[in-house]
């Protein structure tokens, strides 16, 4: 589903002495099927932004359009429930939301609430369990007897079982070990491709944004600070440093290399292997004329 923010502002506790603008005049468009990374510091408005995607927050000004759904100030759409079945949100530490006696009941809770038939739910669960990297023998176990990584996968399966078209991920790898982080992101990437999802990933990792996203949105103090394809955005080192964000390590290294060797070797999205080849060429190329 296409997502459009049109002059969206969100003000907490408007018309009170505590009024606080969390989002200001936000404009962007995400075509259906994109994988978008949203990056910014704590307090930059990222969380408020994603709350607009399934109507947990309604814009104070402006309009949010998600597919055929329209969210406007003081105008609650009648089909909010349908919107929420189309937009799945994996919140931070989603395993904290597990509550049922068994894994299978926990996963079924979402689709049941949206009125999906029992037989259909069972079929979906059979499908989703291997996709999130779990095996069927845990279905009858208590989710609280599982490891942290497994619990997170169960929570994710619960979101996927509703079969959303838009998937919103709020720092989905926080607290996992390196292998767990890689596996979870790779899993989301495969679900994204296989099911033709529109995916919004909130992350602090420039490396992950570079690896998976086709579009990057940088937020700062409630406003859109930068937007574009990852290579375009991440090569603007000075602009990112200005808001105390780093560039991916590969970009940072190449830029230091350029300075030291006085040789132009821009980042164009090379793999580490390609980058090593570029560097080897310059290093073994003898003296470079200045």
């Amino acid at each position: 589903m296409d997502i459009t923010f049109n002059n969206v502002s969100y003000i907490y506790q408007e018309n009170s002495p505590f009024a606080h603008k969390a989002i200001e005049d936000l404009n962007f468009h995400i075509p259906s099927g994109s994988f978008v990374a949203v990056i910014g510091h704590t307090g930059s408005g990222k969380s408020t932004l994603i709350q607009h995607l399934n109507g947990l927050a309604m814009p104070s000004r402006g309009e949010v359009t998600i597919g055929d759904f329209h969210l406007k100030a003081k105008e609650k759409p009648k089909n909010m429930r349908e919107l929420r079945s189309k937009v799945g949100v994996v919140f931070q530490y989603p395993e904290h939301q597990l509550f049922e006696e068994t894994v299978v009941k926990d996963i079924a809770f979402g689709p049941e609430n949206f009125g999906v038939e029992k037989a259909v739910i069972e079929e979906r669960i059979r499908d989703i369990i291997p996709a999130v990297g779990l095996s069927e023998d845990i279905l009858e176990r208590s989710p609280f007897d599982l490891s942290g990584g497994q619990m997170r996968r169960v929570a994710i399966a619960g979101v996927m079982a509703v079969q959303p078209e838009v998937l919103v991920l709020d720092e989905p790898t926080a607290g996992l070990d390196p292998r767990g982080q890689k596996e979870i992101l790779q899993m989301f990437y495969e679900l994204h491709k296989r099911q033709g999802l529109t995916t919004i990933l909130v992350t602090h990792s420039m490396e992950d944004a570079l690896k998976y996203a086709d579009h990057v949105l940088i937020m700062n103090k409630g406003k859109k600070y930068m937007e574009g394809n990852p290579v375009e955005v991440f090569t603007q080192k000075d602009a990112l440093h200005k808001v105390q964000l780093d560039v991916p390590e590969s970009v940072a290294f190449l830029s230091k290399f350029e300075k030291r060797f006085k040789y132009s070797l821009p980042f164009k999205g090379q793999t580490v292997d390609e980058m090593a080849e570029d560097i080897r060429r310059v290093v073994q190329g003898g003296r470079i004329d200045e």
């Binding site: 704590t42 390590e249 060797f261 580490v272 290093v283």
Partner: protein
């Protein structure tokens, strides 16, 4: 010769008799003023080590000595004066209603006189750069600031060792940098060993020595440079290696003869420049 501060002698631990061993026959030593990183996959036994050090858990087999004293039910109260811990979640360990109350909490439990407490609060908050926040309430602080207050609370009782159990895992990059800078300063000014349990490679690179855990056993114990030279094996046990290590590897494959495992960008650049100048 530096003093041995922590010693594990053939330590094994499991939660219950029918459960698998979480730690299997682990032996290692940590010295005064040393900074140690413990890494390993989730469930590898890292946090269990921390809990055994200050007597939150006791081993079924083997012996643990802190500054020469064995950790037992009788000694834990003394040992906890020497071992300070900061945990992962900044919200779960804030006990005071203001920053200064929170820092005072540990000292109150130890019956430290009021005048001395006031001096130590000032001193430890200054050490973590939070001296302007004495009366601030916790909900007005960022995650990084809360963790700095937690560190101040530990410093106020002047322990011999500070253990950080994934203390930066829930922080954003800015918060992580704050904590790293704080720790560097604190370690410089105090006689303190530091044990960091972490997945963050920057924290690992800054330590003197690394203990790598895998399935409850010590997989390796060496300097960060030696550890990251084993990148393929590290990846096999589910761990990460820094970007420079991966790039250095690719460069070697392409025939650039590097003389040592680089730990940061500058070291790798220096090597490349040397190679370039001699070409």
């Amino acid at each position: 010769m530096r003093e041995k501060l922590i010693e594990f002698r053939n330590v094994s631990f499991r939660y219950r008799e029918e459960h698998p061993w979480v730690l299997k026959n682990c032996s290692f030593e940590i010295y005064e003023d040393e900074s140690i990183a413990i890494i390993g996959h989730n469930g590898s036994g890292k946090s269990t080590i921390a809990k055994l050090i200050n007597g939150l858990l006791f081993p079924q087999e083997g012996e643990i000595l802190i500054a020469g004293k064995p950790v037992t039910e009788e000694t834990i109260w003394d040992i906890r004066k020497d071992v300070g811990m900061v945990f992962q979640n900044p919200d779960n360990q804030f006990v005071g209603t203001t920053v200064q109350d929170d820092v005072a909490f540990g000292m109150e439990n130890r019956g430290i006189p009021r005048e001395e407490m006031i001096a130590r609060i000032e001193e430890s908050l200054t050490a973590v750069g939070m001296q302007d926040y004495h009366l601030t309430e916790p909900h007005r602080l960022s995650g990084g600031q809360k963790q700095r207050v937690a560190i101040a609370g530990v410093l106020a009782v002047s322990p011999k060792v500070l253990i950080l159990d994934e203390a930066t895992a829930m922080l954003d990059p800015k918060g992580r940098t704050e904590i790293m800078n704080t720790l560097n300063q604190v370690q410089e000014k105090n006689n303190l060993s530091l044990i960091t349990i972490t997945h963050d490679l920057h924290e690992v690179v800054q330590s003197d020595r690394v203990i790598v855990m895998n399935h409850g056993e010590i997989w390796d114990e060496a300097t960060p440079r030696e550890i990251f030279a084993k990148k393929h094996a590290l990846r096999e046990i589910g761990l990460d290696v820094p970007f420079v290590a991966i790039l250095a590897d690719e460069l070697q494959v392409k025939g650039l003869a590097l003389t040592k495992e680089p730990l940061n960008h500058e070291e790798l650049l220096e090597e490349l420049w040397t190679l370039h100048s001699t070409t």
